[in-house]
């Protein structure tokens, strides 16, 4: 039952990220790979969140995975990493948190709103930070090979 659920989620996540890539007008070459890394990243998040009982670590690891694979794809295809990383991060974006905090606010539950809202801000910050850190790390580590080819 649970393995069936996991399988469904993996397939659905792949499709959702693929279509979201089309919505963002990602180049056709990038669609498949970003959908794949998006689905895998989401899966990693789910596994870690369950295994470690802590969402934030899961979010960071998943965002790091998506960003790092995007940097590799970017070097390989000579495209900007943004093209790969933006669609694949989408399943991690805390839409649920935004909705929950809003729902608490509508129901006059200010404590719930503060808890859910803070959580949402923290999660978005962690995802964005993971991407930014990976990006600047990749700039320094991977710069040598492709950059020198382009300059000459």
């Amino acid at each position: 039952m649970t393995s069936l659920l996991c399988l469904r989620d993996l397939a659905v996540c792949f499709g959702a990220v693929f279509l979201y890539g089309i919505f963002m007008s990602a180049p056709r070459k990038a669609l498949f790979l970003s959908a794949l890394s998006g689905a895998v990243a989401y899966f990693v998040y789910r596994l870690l969140a369950v295994a470690l009982h802590h969402e934030l670590i899961g979010y960071f690891a998943a965002a790091f995975l998506a960003a790092a694979s995007a940097e590799l794809f970017a070097r390989f295809f000579r495209m900007p990493a943004t093209v790969f990383v933006m669609p694949s991060l989408i399943p991690l974006v805390p839409g649920i948190g935004l909705y929950r905090s809003m729902l608490c606010l509508v129901q006059n539950d200010l404590d719930g709103f503060l808890a859910a809202g803070t959580r949402t801000v923290l999660i978005s910050g962690i995802i964005a930070a993971a991407v930014a850190v990976t990006n600047s790390a990749a700039r320094h580590i991977l710069r040598r090979k492709p950059a020198e080819n382009t300059e000459e």
Binding site: M1, L4, L5, R8, D9, V12, C13, G15, A16, V17, L19, Y20, G21, I22, F23, M24, S25, A26, P27, A30, Y42, R78, M79, P80, T82, V83, V85, M86, P87, L89, I90, P91, V93, G95, I96, L98, Y99, S101, M102, L103, L105, V106, Q107, S124, G125, I127, A128, A129, V131, A132, V133, N135, S136, T150, E151, E152
Partner: protein, 309 residues
Amino acid sequence: MTNSKDNITQKAEARPEEETIPSPTEEEIVPSPSGEGKRSPATEEGAATDRSLLIETALLAGEILLESGGETFRAEETAAIICRSGGDPDGEVFFLPTGIFISGSGEDRRFSTVKRVGRRSVNLFRVERVNFYSRAFAEGKLSLPQLREKLLALKNNALYSRPALCLAAGLSSALFTVLFEPTLSLTVLFDFLVSFVGAFAAQLLCLSGRMKNVYPFSTTFLGSALIALFAVLFCSLFGIGNVNVIIIGAIMPLLPGMSLTNAIRDTVTGDLISGVSRIAETLLLAAAIAGGVGFVLACYLSITGGPLL
């Protein structure tokens, strides 16, 4: 004034016809240096138009990047690379999410251009193409007029039509709804359909609003209100379905994930003004979504008591 380096030409409009012909008043202002006035006026004019074409092209590339959701850092870097590869090592670029300033040096004067950037959206295809073309220009595979031509063509090339974008957004939201559904059951199909309809309608509203230059805040607010309305209406009408999951899935394409990531990147790379203004944009859009959904749900709660939430 003996030196003409203080002579700065400012152009707010990027019309190619205006750039190629230096206005006569400009020529009058430039005092011909008594000693080195050997160059014929024709070549000086040619160099001046070349330089201003270079600046205009760098500006165009940066403008497309900013409008399509590229980071400020990337847009600045691209414009600077075009300037340098085109033979202007002293070109200076300064980009904000809402405007571009470029100043380049000519033989004996400086040119500067200012351009306002409105209508920011997401189009990764354009980001990739601009990157590709500017790289080809830096490697010498494209000439400056060719680069400019390609960029101008790119400005009107969106890769996908508007209905296709709405369809992709709708289907993607519907799949996200299934993804967020915690159990395996067949009622998920109902949620799938409702989420698709809601997200499709919301994107139609947002994209046509963008064409008519309506503020994104209003269209996002109305779009998310529409999503919540569809969810509440259909679920109470048919008595099945999960309102929460439908709404969470359907608002996915409206969420400002791209501007948030760019905001943090800009802040981290030191473009502080860009970063902070992008964070403000993100918060505004998130508030619009929460407000739109919240408004409808508050009405629903006060009318029925909210049995579905």
